[in-house]
């Protein structure tokens, strides 16, 4: 009994940080409708800045003022980010803002590395709260009790600020109807900046206050990201009490999970989230949302046509050049091109549902990884021949996509994206923690192709055949009735349904199809590397694909392929620099602000201006 109570207290103490960071994220989303992926970075900055301040300021007073000052400093950083990066893209579709905040993550990561170095730092213990107290015979750190006491206090202050003050009323009004608040003469830009300040401050406080428990390291930004998203989604986007309840729920469950079912700790949180969303699609305290815009704001997409003679000749010529590479190119060139084609196919499969279907999936890596793991597991456990494993991989990934798609299709917009993320994380944690079957962190190795494909050059041709074949298949389907019905369902659900199109079924089928193609790219991947690790299923992998599509251009048919090929190529070059994240992050931010149509869109515009291509109105 005593142990259970003590664990409950630990859970409540852990909830403090989670609540602080998540409530900030929730506030920012509620008002600005921006899914701030850089929120974990604010949290990390809070920890590092707090640590540095605590080295200077002594004693109990020094400790707590360091926490406060760290929060405020991060708040100011948040304001800088908001004004420089986000203000230019408020009117842009969700995906653009998301990618912009992703650029911020990369920049902050390298800046933190520059400032604080690569080593983890141990947080100082809070002066005056160093010991433990015994509660029902169990040791409980004093600092935990302090955290438990502080959290409801913070919740109360926030609640008072939001529901009783004039600023709070404006914030709530803006949460419900931004345009109306603007029409009533409130300067929205400053309201947004203010909310960003508050949200970032909360994240900074969360980072600083957990120092005595967790210290600071360069991975903490990504480590907390998934958890705070889960909290915000379970609690309901924009709801403070929801964030508190969900933070407590997740933290307490986690503590008990670690004790009683240690293999499940990572999965647990996502299982809870999936269950909550399936029962209450908008979270425990959330209200129904009108679906987000999914890249449909701004200039509508151009009509598409299959490639004309000129296009076919260019693609054909490119294929001939690629086929000749083994005759004049180095081994390295073949490996690089193999990697590029595999990644381009993966990106193109996500582009199919995202660009044509308007379905923003945050978890597409789940299907890439499923394909890779299905093939690897078949080879290592069932000793199946490579050919059969290769065929079954896309089917396995497609099957996973059918199930996950069915569950996610009930939601739209950000909630759909979050649910795909949850399921992707679920699969990732399953693979990661089910060590005896999947190899866990050590991955599965020795997965080589059949004898007739062994060697760089044969496998290069194999990848060329299936990779380019997959890309051309996706492109062909885009021009068929199915691809058109998918675009119709994105352009106007109402019109599509009113003319007999079962939009949900079309989207579901597209989701499964894209999953199967991602599985194909995963299978190509695993046999080219000879191994697979859980990193192929990670959040970062899904984000890579999202960024790539964005760089290539969401509203263009070739966006996925061009972006995928460019990034994979650029990565090979850029990762040779020590601070490549900084470079890539800045590059992403610049593209967001300067060329929101992506590489393909921007070059088409240039082409139109100089008369190389038709502008769709018969003018040149």
């Amino acid at each position: 009994m005593g142990l259970i109570f003590a664990q409950l207290l630990t859970g409540l103490a852990n909830a403090a940080t989670l609540f602080l960071v998540a409530s900030g994220l929730s506030l920012i989303f509620g008002v600005t409708r921006i899914v701030n992926f850089a929120h974990g970075s604010f949290y990390m900055l809070g920890a590092f800045i707090g640590y540095s301040l605590m080295q200077v300021l002594p004693g109990m007073f020094g400790f707590w003022s360091s926490v406060l000052l760290a929060g405020l400093a991060v708040g100011v950083i948040g304001v800088i980010v908001e004004m420089l990066v986000l203000r230019p893209v408020y009117k842009a579709p969700e995906l653009f803002q998301l990618v912009a905040t992703f650029g911020v993550i990369l920049v902050i990561q390298d800046l933190a590395l520059l400032t604080w170095g690569p080593d983890d730092v141990l947080g100082p213990r809070a002066p005056g709260l160093k010991g433990i107290v015994r509660i029902m015979g169990e040791p409980v750190p004093k600092y935990d009790l302090a955290l438990i006491a502080i959290t409801p206090f913070v919740l109360f202050i926030l609640w008072y600020l939001i529901s009783k003050t004039r600023i709070g009323i404006l914030v709530r009004a803006a949460t419900q109807d931004r345009e109306m608040v603007g029409a009533l003469g409130v300067n929205q830009a400053w309201l947004f900046t203010g909310v960003f300040f508050l949200g970032a401050t909360l994240a900074g406080l969360g980072g600083a206050i957990q120092l005595p428990k967790g210290g600071a390291d360069l991975l903490m930004d990504f480590n907390i990201l998934a958890a705070i998203f889960v909290v915000v989604v379970i609690g309901g986007m924009g709801s403070l009490p929801g964030a508190y309840v969900a933070a407590v729920l997740i933290s307490v469950l986690n503590v008990f999970g670690v004790t009683y079912i240690p293999q499940s700790t990572l999965v647990l949180m996502f299982v809870v989230m999936a269950i909550v969303l399936l029962i209450k699609p908008y979270g425990l305290f959330g209200r129904e949302e009108v679906a987000g815009e999914h890249g449909q704001v701004g200039e509508p997409e151009r009509p598409i046509k299959p490639a004309g003679t000129r296009g076919r000749v260019i693609v054909g010529g490119l294929l001939v050049i690629l086929a000749m590479v083994p005759f004049f190119g180095s081994n390295f060139a073949q490996v690089l091109i193999t990697d590029i084609i595999i990644f381009a196919l993966f990106a193109a499969s996500l582009h199919f549902i995202l660009g044509l279907g308007g379905l923003v999936s945050f978890g597409h890596a789940a299907f890439f990884g499923s394909g890779a793991y299905v093939a690897a597991l078949l080879v290592s456990h069932a000793e199946s021949p490579m050919e059969i494993a290769f065929l079954l991989a896309p089917l396995g990934a497609g099957g996973a996509a059918i199930i996950i798609g069915w569950l996610c299709m009930r939601l739209t917009g950000v909630y759909f994206a979050m649910l795909t993320l949850a399921f992707a994380q679920l699969i990732w944690s399953l693979v990661y923690q089910w060590g005896e079957f999947t190899g866990g962190d050590d991955g599965l190795v020795d997965i080589w192709p059949a004898a007739w494909l062994n060697g760089t050059t044969p496998y290069y041709y194999f990848t060329l055949l299936f990779g380019i074949g997959g890309i051309l298949l996706l492109r062909h389907v885009a021009h068929t009735p199915f691809g058109y019905a998918l675009r119709a369902s994105r352009d106007s659900v109402r019109q599509a349904e009113a003319t007999g199109i079962n939009t949900k079924r079309i989207q579901w089928a597209a989701f499964a199809f894209a999953g199967a193609v991602a599985g194909l790219s995963g299978a190509l991947f695993v046999f080219s590397k000879g191994s697979v690790f859980p990193t192929e299923l990670e959040l970062a992998k899904s984000f890579d694909a999202l960024i790539v599509i964005f760089l290539g251009g969401v509203k263009t048919l070739a966006g996925g392929v061009v972006g995928g090929a460019s990034l994979e190529f650029a990565k090979d070059f850029i990762t040779r620099f020590e601070y490549w994240r900084l470079l890539l992050g800045l590059l992403i931010i610049f593209v967001v602000i300067l060329a929101p149509e992506g590489i393909v869109g921007a070059s088409r515009k240039l082409g139109e201006r100089f008369g190389f291509v038709d502008d769709g109105e018969g003018r040149r």
Partner: protein, 257 residues
């Protein structure tokens, strides 16, 4: 004349508010039937229930003898009812003719097909429909850059794709210039006559209503308060007093014309 659509005791309440109360009427073959009423009278609610977008609290709707209640919108469309919306909802990423082709593809149940090129399918039929509404010259234009009146005509072409026997038009001329309104309604009236289609439409423009409808229903606070020919409605004292506030609206509308 036989009844195409039969509506019996249709009712809908939202919480405590009764938006539509016991509305019963029928649409005859080849008839242009107008449903008018002030804002909030329950016109759109009625339409949404007929088309399966809202579930009625009570009542029955029969289309050519088959019950419509409980069926999804797309199924009702397949049975042969076309609909146009107050605010157009065309596919902005496609060309004009592709918008029509999309509906034709759906009508022929080919939406899951992944072999043929969609932009080559049913093109002659799509062009025929565009010609019917006078849009053939704009067939290859990008839908996103069309003028509003052209979008309305395109929507009409789409609604005619599956040769419906009944058209439901929610404020077909809303947001259009007066001359365009007359033209569009004249076009609709001609098509209805040639193809022997029945039309049920709501409309705020009294010119359009009195010039084109064969029969007029007046809805007020969710109840059907009058149902008759243009003359009967014009001279119905209850309509004049309760709904039109002494009939001034008529004169205004007539002055505008």
């Amino acid at each position: 004349m036989s009844d195409v659509l039969e509506v019996k005791n249709l009712s809908k309440s939202f919480g405590g508010i009764q938006a539509v109360k016991d509305v019963s009427f029928s649409v005859k073959k080849g008839e242009l039937l107008a449903m008018i009423g002030p804002n909030g009278a329950g016109k759109s609610t009625c339409f949404n229930m007929l088309m399966g977008q809202l579930k009625p609290t009570k009542g029955e709707v029969y289309f050519e003898g088959q019950n419509l209640i409980g069926r999804p919108t797309r199924e009702i469309w397949r049975m042969g009812i076309g609909r146009t919306f107050q605010i157009t909802g065309t596919y902005t990423s496609m060309t004009v003719v592709e918008n029509v082709q999309m509906a034709l593809i759906s009508h022929h149940r080919r939406t899951m097909s992944i072999l043929p090129y969609a932009h080559k399918m049913y093109k002659p039929k799509a062009m025929e429909l565009l010609e019917l509404v006078g849009m053939q010259d704009q067939a290859e234009r990008h839908c996103a850059i069309l003028a509003y009146g052209d979008l309305k005509r395109l929507e009409l072409a789409i609604a005619l794709c599956h040769d419906p026997s009944l058209l439901l038009m929610d404020e077909p001329t809303a947001g259009m210039a007066p001359t365009e309104r007359i033209k569009l309604m004249q076009l609709t009236a001609d098509i209805v006559k040639n193809k022997n289609i029945s039309v049920l439409f709501t409309e705020h423009d009294m010119d359009v209503v009195f010039a084109h409808s064969h029969r007029i229903m007046v809805l007020n606070r969710g109840e059907l308060m009058a149902n008759g020919s243009a003359d009967e409605i014009r001279n119905d004292p209850r309509v004049q007093e309760v709904y039109l506030g002494g009939g001034s609206l008529f004169e205004e509308a007539e002055i505008q014309a």
